[in-house]
């Protein structure tokens, strides 16, 4: 197995140019318009709005302005699949279409997926959606085809500010920690890494440098695995079956016997 590969995204240097979105669409041959209709959001420079089956990269524009708009800032973040080490989508997928590659990335095989959409409900980040062209669930593959050919993913290659960096996870962790230290020394004390350590789903192979709470970026503060509920949910169901069984037996056997006894007495 090759070394685990991933993305480190430094949101502080993202300029919102969306070159990553375009590069992703070009390489992966994703349609650029929604059936020829280019819908504008109307209230933001962000017209992509969310990750879905035909948008595997999405630059989020978070506008933090005061009421008078005298003071404010843009938070820009290029969102993508997190390629979780403990991946919720892979865990629930009933067809085996979602696999882990030799690069420790998570890929949906479109020819095996049957569009049941369990992975969409399972992903804690809302990354996956159905691609209407294929009828299957799709998301970022971390350019698996390029990786196999020894190339870097299209988005990080296209990023002009090195906000999206590609490399081995070990190397990226080192770079990210240095950058956090540099920002802290420069006075930006809010800088921290999201998903870099193993506490979050075993580690995100696409992790982020953020300067505000995760919720502000639309990221879950405490993402969990779907199977956390499997044992408790199953045992409560067994309890339900036992209770119904007892109620049934009580109503049919006990009363049945009593009724027959009454008939005999008559």
């Amino acid at each position: 197995m090759a070394e685990p590969m991933g993305f480190y995204t430094d949101t502080t240097v993202c300029i919102g140019c969306k070159a990553c979105e375009v590069a992703c669409k070009e390489w992966n041959q994703l349609p650029s318009t929604n059936g020829g209709v280019n819908t504008l959001s109307g209230d933001s420079y962000d017209n992509t709005r969310r990750l879905d089956g035909t948008h595997w990269r999405h630059v989020k524009f978070i506008e933090q302005f005061t009421e008078s708009r005298v003071d404010g800032r843009w938070l820009l973040m290029s969102d993508v699949c997190k390629h979780c080490v403990h991946a919720a989508c892979l865990e629930v997928c009933p067809t085996g279409a979602i696999t882990r590659t030799e690069f420790d990335t998570v890929v949906i095989q479109s020819d095996a997926c049957n569009g049941c959409r369990d992975c969409i409900a399972a992903c804690p980040f809302g990354v996956i959606d159905i691609n209407p062209v294929s009828g299957t669930a799709q998301k970022c593959t971390l350019c698996y085809d390029r990786l196999q050919a020894g190339m870097e993913p299209a988005c990080s290659k296209a990023c002009p500010t090195q906000s999206i960096q590609f490399g081995t996870i070990k190397d990226l962790h080192g770079r990210a920690e240095k950058r956090v230290e540099q920002l802290h020394q420069g006075g930006e004390k809010r800088a921290y890494l999201y998903g870099a350590d193993e506490k979050m789903l075993g580690g995100l192979n696409s992790f982020y440098l953020l300067v505000d709470k995760p919720e502000v970026y639309g990221l879950p503060p405490d993402p969990k695995m779907p199977t956390r509920n499997l044992a408790s949910g199953s045992w409560f169901s067994v309890l339900g079956a036992v209770l119904i069984g007892l109620i049934g037996i009580f109503n049919f056997r006990d009363r049945g016997a009593r009724a027959e006894g009454e008939e005999e007495r008559r």
């Binding site: 879950p220 949910g233 119904i244 056997r253």
Partner: protein
């Protein structure tokens, strides 16, 4: 967005809609009716036999409809078999930790049991001229065996759907471990209601019908307790129901489908006459609305 009650609010909706809500309803009816039929076969009186036949007559068509609904709902319906067989190796695929994976197997196995018992019931009632099929129907040993195993699978099919919703990261669904329990209890109450409705329509008067009616009242009372437990277990997430869905849950499910049937039951119990049809119809409608609310209320958040 800064004050969401749970990390589940950052996931995306899977667009499971009408087809899935209806599947939950029909799957519950299939599993519940089969279970009730086997219960009547094993513990009921001999004159209740037509009632158990009725349960098997309901179970098979309902599970067949369920399979159809699930297949049509897929993005690629022609690949429905990928749920059971790995498409590139043609080996069976079984992931015990994925409710949809085991559920697909359970659905298939239960479907076979439902078909066998359906034919057994038809033969037992002499509606088809295949006397050999009587052997798969109780009281024969084989028939009892089939009824018990099929009943267990019926419960599984009725309950796994709730666990399936719980094993996701969607708000409401994955914020309580009680949906499987709720669906199993609801499957029992709606199945008893449907059997009562059809039996009343045929003007049957066997004593088991009253037992079933009384049992349904017990089950609805249990269902009400479970639904309240679901709400309590949701904690701060409960505010996701502060909308039209919550109102529908309160008036459509709890009011119309639980409290009113219970009140009607107790009133007629006092008077000594039973209006089972109205009560059963209300329970059935309440069960359907329950599935709709559970499925759709987690879509918009």
């Amino acid at each position: 967005m800064n004050t969401v009650p749970s990390s589940t609010f950052f996931s995306a909706p899977p667009e499971w809609g009408w087809l899935i809500a209806l599947y939950f309803f029909f799957g519950g009816l299939a599993g519940g009716s089969y279970f009730l039929a086997s219960l009547i076969d094993l513990f009921g009186r001999s004159q209740d036999r037509p009632l158990s036949h009725l349960g098997y007559y309901i179970a098979f068509p309902c599970i067949a409809i369920s399979g159809l609904l699930l297949t049509v709902d897929l993005g690629r319906p022609e690949r429905f078999w990928h749920m059971l067989i790995e498409s590139n190796t043609y080996r069976p695929l079984f992931k015990p930790w994925s409710p949809m994976s085991i559920g697909s197997w359970a659905l298939m196995i239960f479907g076979i049991f439902a078909l066998v018992s359906f034919l057994g019931a038809l033969a037992d009632a002499e509606r088809i001229p295949w006397p050999a099929w009587r052997k798969v129907h109780p009281p024969s040993l084989l028939g009892r065996f089939i009824a018990v195993i099929g009943g267990v699978f019926g419960f599984y099919v009725a309950g796994y759907t709730g666990v399936l919703l719980t094993v996701t990261n969607r708000p409401i669904w994955s914020d309580t471990p009680l949906l499987g329990l709720l669906f199993i209890v609801s499957a029992a109450s709606t199945s008893a209601a449907l059997m009562i409705l059809l039996a009343e329509k045929s003007r049957w008067t066997m004593p088991g019908l009253l037992d079933l009616h009384r049992m349904d009242a017990w089950v609805i009372a249990l269902e009400l307790i479970v639904l309240i437990a679901v709400m309590v277990s949701l904690g701060p997430v409960l505010r996701a129901w502060l909308n039209a869905w919550g109102l529908l849950l309160l008036f459509g499910v709890i009011g119309l489908g639980m409290v009113l049937p219970l009140a009607l039951y107790w009133r007629s119990e006092k008077r000594g006459e039973q209006n089972m049809t109205t009560t059963a119809a209300l329970v059935l409608i309440g069960g359907l609305i329950l599935r709709l609310v559970i499925v759709f209320s987690a879509q918009g958040v």
